[in-house]
Each structure stands twice: as C-alpha cells, then as structure tokens.
C-alpha cells in the first residue's frame, strides 16, 4: 500500500492505495469522478484519457502511484466556471457523440491535440491520424473530426480576438 497525493482538477487529494491500483481506478473509485471510463485492457481505446501534468495519457496504463505528486485533469475539470470548454461545446454542436462512453477520452485527446498543434492548425487528415488511440463504435468519427476542427478554429479565433 502507498500513501499518495496529487492535484485533481485543481483540488489537492490524497489516499492510500494498493501499489497495483491504476490511476483510472483512483480517479473513479477513490475520487468518485466517474466521467473517465475504461473500455479496453490493452491501451487501445482511449476512453480513459486524462491529462497528467498537462499531457494526455491513458489512465488505465498508469499506476496511481506513478502520478503521485502530479497534476491531473479529467473531463470533469475542463469547463471553467460553468462555461463549457470550446471542445465540449463543439462535440454537442456537431453531434460528435452518441452513447457518450468514448466521449471523455475523445474530448481529453482533442484538447491535448489542439494544445500541441496550436489552435487553428489542425486539418481533417491530421485529426484523424491523431485519433489513432481513441476508438468510437457509434459515430463513425466524421462528426468527431468536425467537432475538433471547429473547436480548434474557434479557439484560434478567440486567441486572435484576445490579442
């Protein structure tokens, strides 16, 4: 057992866990943040993607103890003050979700993708390639790709307006 502590969605949390406890289990069971999902055992589906220290990772392929001392952001933490993150809003606007199960990982991967490439710098082919680690069974991806592109472009516009 290990005593761990980390910042989850801006809040310092701690707990005692078996060393084998996955980060996703710590998030879901110890923290009650059930927005992060588990869809496979082999690190392919991406339903469990969260950000650790600002980078997208698969929380089913990381031990909670590995994240000891880190900052973790889950889907529950991306909206600010009741205002949806532009990627969240775009998923709704473009019907980028159906059953909603892959959606948390999709949105977290999309935000990471936009962070890395820079808002406004994503085209359709790049987005599809970047989604290699996220599987959706419902949507056929077309509206997910559209949503990410729209959010990326919108965020670029917002950044420009702010300048």
């Amino acid at each position: 057992m290990s005593q761990i502590s980390m910042v989850v969605n801006g809040k310092r949390v701690s707990g005692t866990v078996e060393d084998r406890t996955l980060l996703v289990s710590f998030i879901r069971e110890n923290q009650g943040l059930t927005g992060t999902h588990v869809g496979c055992d082999t690190s392919q589906c991406g339903a469990c993607v969260v950000h650790v220290d600002g980078k997208a990772v698969k929380s089913c392929t990381m031990l909670a103890v590995q994240a000891n001392g880190s900052e973790v952001t889950t889907l529950e933490g991306v909206a600010s003050g009741g205002e949806l993150h532009p990627v969240q809003a775009a998923f709704r606007e473009h019907h980028g979700l159906q059953c909603g199960f892959c959606t948390p990982g999709m949105i977290m991967s999309a935000i990471d993708m936009i962070n890395r490439h820079g808002a406004g710098n994503l085209d359709e082919a790049t987005i599809r390639h970047e989604l290699e680690g996220n599987i959706c069974r419902c949507t056929g991806y077309q509206n997910i790709v559209k949503a990410i592109k729209a959010a990326s472009d919108q965020m670029a516009g917002m950044a420009q307006a702010a300048e």
């Binding site: 060393d19 055992d41 991406g46 980078k55 997208a56 590995q66 993708m113």
Partner: protein, 266 residues
C-alpha cells in the same frame, strides 16, 4: 494485475541497488507495454522500480557527430526535438509514429529497447544507425545488444542509461502497421552513414526480432535508390507468420518498406 511493490528510484545507482535487492523486480519506465502485460496477469513482478524521473536518464544532447538520448526520454520528446528533427529526421519521424499520442507521452526509448518486442520501432533505428547503448555497467553496440525475441544482452541488474545515435548522411524509416494493434508488421530503417556505408534494419517481421539485411546494404551502398532494393527479398523462412500476415506477405512488405524508406530518405 497481481499485487506488486512500487519504488521510485532517484538515481541509476539507486535503481540498480533496488533491482539487485528485490526478488523479482522489473524496471518501470513509461509502462506502456509492461502495465498492459501485468493487467493481463502475464507478468507478475514482485517489485516495480520506476526509473522515469531519474535525472541522468533524461534529455537529448547534440554531440556534433552524434545525438545522445537519455533512456527515460519520452517518444513525444524525441519526435518533437529540434535537434533530432534537424539531424536525424528519420528518427524523429519514427518516434512520432510509435503507438498513439497518449502512449508517446509516457513510453520511453529505454523501455522500448530493453523490452525488445519484435514489433517495436526503435530497435530498427538503433541497429540501422549503429547506435551505442550506455548502460549502468558498460557501453554496447546495437549489433550486440539485440539478441533475440524479447531478449537483449542486458544483465538482470543492468539498466539502459542512454543511447548515442551517429548522425547519418540521410536516413528514414517506413513501417507497415498491423491494422489492429498498429505495431509494425514490417518496419525498415535505412541509413546512409557519413562514410557512405549503408545499414538497413528490419523490425516487426523477424522471428528472432530486429535484423539487418546485408544484401540491401550492399546494393544501396552502390546505388542509393529504391530500385536498388526493389528486387531484393529477405526470404520468408525466418519471418513471423500470424493471422495478420503470413511470412510471405511480410517478406514482400520488407521489400516495399525498404523502397519507401529509401525514397523518404531522399
């Protein structure tokens, strides 16, 4: 996953000491292969020694004629490195094609080569570029390092600290991914070195893991063009065969990927 005991090592010496002390310890770097294996209960190490934060295993150093990369450097950092992109664009592209973005944020060079999965990408680059592996005990040439399927020359208590890649005149990697797992079904790294010699290494296809193709190397040394390797087949006998591709198909892919790597190298 079976229960295990986690340790976070502060230095290479610390990690080596932990490794020597524990009953059946494994090093944990990015964990992108080890943790899924443990989740499937196919591995049950008594202890996990996390080396991912050890300072001496981080970072990318430009040494002029070579680039040195710390074993705990993430794939994403290699892919995004200005110096790697400038001096060994083939290596940057290879790192940027491992797994998916989330995997690349965790997975490391040292983890990849120490595991020596026959379908991993990095071993092809090390072997083709004639890289030197520095461990907690010694230095090893890539040609000696990879010894077989999931086998390396590493001792039980030996840790990869960094890898030095000679800068090639030109080099590139082309892979054909397994459609399901996206691991390489055939990945070919082609490097034309400063002295004009050419090295070609193949991953994903060999029964014994990564291997070189002397016939292609000779042909390319004389004529560095796709047509030089178009007629060269590695032969199917020693290649992997599974539901995704027979050995004959993989042999074809090796030739096709070799052509494409040469074209990409320019």
């Amino acid at each position: 996953m079976y229960e295990t005991t986690y340790h976070r090592a502060g230095s290479v010496a610390d990690a080596a000491a932990l490794l020597a002390k524990a009953e059946d310890a494994k090093l944990l770097s990015g964990g992108q292969t080890l943790l899924p294996t443990m989740k499937q209960r196919l591995a049950a190490p008594s202890d996990l020694i996390d080396v991912s934060r050890i300072a001496e295993m981080q970072g990318i150093t430009d040494n002029g004629a070579s680039i040195s990369i710390g074993a705990a450097t993430k794939h994403a950092d290699v892919a995004g490195s200005t110096v790697v992109k400038q001096k060994l664009p083939g290596l940057a592209k290879l790192a940027g094609g491992i797994g998916d973005p989330a995997v690349r944020h965790m997975g490391t060079l040292g983890g990849s080569i120490s595991n020596n999965d026959p379908a991993a990408d990095y071993p092809a680059a090390l072997l083709a570029l004639g890289a030197t592996i520095t461990t907690s005990k010694r230095s090893l040439a890539a040609d000696e390092f990879f010894t077989g399927l999931f086998e390396t020359a590493l001792d039980e208590d030996e840790i990869v600290v960094s890898v030095s890649f000679p800068v090639a005149q030109k080099s590139a990697y082309a892979k054909y991914p397994n459609p399901a797992s996206r691991y390489a079904m055939a990945g070919v790294y082609v490097a034309k070195m400063g002295d004009g010699s050419v090295r070609v290494a193949v991953t994903g296809a060999g029964q014994g893991g990564v291997f070189r193709v002397p016939e292609m190397e000779t042909a390319l040394a004389g004529n560095f063009s796709a047509s030089a390797v178009a007629g060269i087949s590695v032969g199917a006998d020693n290649l992997l065969s599974d539901i995704h591709g027979s050995n004959a198909y993989r042999a074809n892919l090796v030739t096709v990927m070799a052509k494409r790597a040469v074209e990409a190298a320019g």
